[in-house]
Amino acid sequence: MGEREYLEYYALNRRGVSGWFKIRGYVLERKLYLFHRITGILIVLFMLPHFYSTGWHPGLWWDALLGIIITFHVANGIRLTLLELLGIGIGKPLLVKKPFQRPVSIEGKQRYLLALTILLFLVLAIIWSYYAVLVKPLMGG
């Protein structure tokens, strides 16, 4: 980068992709946002050889990792769809606020949905890993 680019970089003060990774000190939902982005990109990368030959898969432990990536993206995607399109657990705007009240959208019922999402992710990931690591090699896959 030249002088002009450096000046623009500091003067514009834009976080860019590093803004996604700035998760320290923020709520859990922001961490899930980052994981959702990363897993989404990784799935796209997997899709390229997968579309070339649909029978292709990366291998024993890589299969389990692929399962973790896809099940997380699916479970979190279901949660986001329910939240964004149907507004489940998002709560109502408040008429009277206490002086130091945490936001309803963070502390409200959507946290139960978040717990369910993580549970769903764990169950799906364990089933997929069990299949990929133990069952599939026995079947000669």
Partner: protein
């Protein structure tokens, strides 16, 4: 334990280092960090500390502030990497287990000088969602015969979002704004929702055309940092999700409210006893 008198509150209790971002894009090539040591008492806010530095140590330090009581939203900046209003945050609150505080201008706002960010794009986006009441009955607006009736339930739908200070903390914390600079941002979208559910407003479809766009509300993926950092607990994250739900429902023909009736004015009719 001895009871503390009110005078003790002003006694210096700790020496704190303030690492402040110094940068003038018109003159400097790189930004630099300057450290100032300052004695603080229990009640010293970061704004107090900055003002004392400006008066006693470094008059060239630039920062923006106005009311000093968390009502104007001018003094938002990054304190130890998190968006805060410095007029409301006490030094010891953020430095209780460390001896320095790091102050930066808000992320995603271009730097004018030191801790001052440029809010022009932020306010332009706010203006883009038409943050005013749009009415179709021009005759009533020109020659008002009364006031618009609104129930407490209708008022409760949007009251929370009227507390917005436009301090830019939510816009700065949003990870989507970090990569998509044309994204309207949490503040503008929450304000769009605030006017769309107001029963006195007729501009629902007009605003849907603005927010239901490429850089509109569908870019939000519920990272909730906006609600997390909001100093007035406005909860823009909730507003955006409700806005998305409203748009989905609108596609099925739903309207959030009936148009507000005009309540005939009683001025002049009330008799004094």
């Amino acid at each position: 334990m001895m009871e503390q008198s009110s005078i003790d509150l002003w006694k210096p209790v700790k020496v704190v280092k303030l690492r402040v971002y110094k940068y003038n894009p018109k003159k400097d090539f790189f930004p630099e960090w300057k450290e100032y040591e300052i004695e603080v008492s229990r009640g010293t806010t970061i704004l107090d500390a900055l003002l004392r530095i400006k008066e006693e140590i470094d008059p060239s330090l630039s920062f923006r502030y106005s009311c000093g009581q968390a009502l104007c939203g001018s003094c938002a900046m990054m304190v130890n990497g998190r968006q805060m209003l410095v007029c409301r945050t006490r030094v010891l609150e953020v430095a209780h287990n460390r001896d320095f505080i790091e102050l930066r201008p808000l992320d995603n706002f271009s730097v004018i000088r030191d801790l001052v960010g440029d809010f022009t794009p932020f306010f332009e986006k706010h203006r883009a969602v038409k943050p005013w009441i749009i009415r179709k009955d021009v005759e009533e607006l020109e020659n008002p015969t009364g006031e618009y009736r609104q129930t407490i339930e209708e008022y409760a739908r949007y009251y929370q979002f009227t507390d917005c200070l436009k301090c830019g903390a939510c816009y700065s914390a949003c990870p989507t704004v970090a990569t998509d600079h044309e994204y309207l941002g949490p503040q503008a979208l929450a304000q769009a929702y605030r006017y769309m559910v107001d029963s006195r407003d007729d501009g629902l479809d007009e605003r849907i055309a603005i927010v239901d766009s490429d850089h509109g509300c569908w870019r939000c993926h519920f990272a909730t940092s906006c609600s997390d950092v909001c100093p007035k607990y406005v909860d823009p994250g909730q507003g955006i999700q409700l806005l998305k739900r409203l748009i989905v429902r609108r596609k099925f023909g739903f309207r959030p409210h009936k148009p507000a009736e005009v309540l005939p004015s009683k001025i002049g009719e009330v008799k004094r006893r």
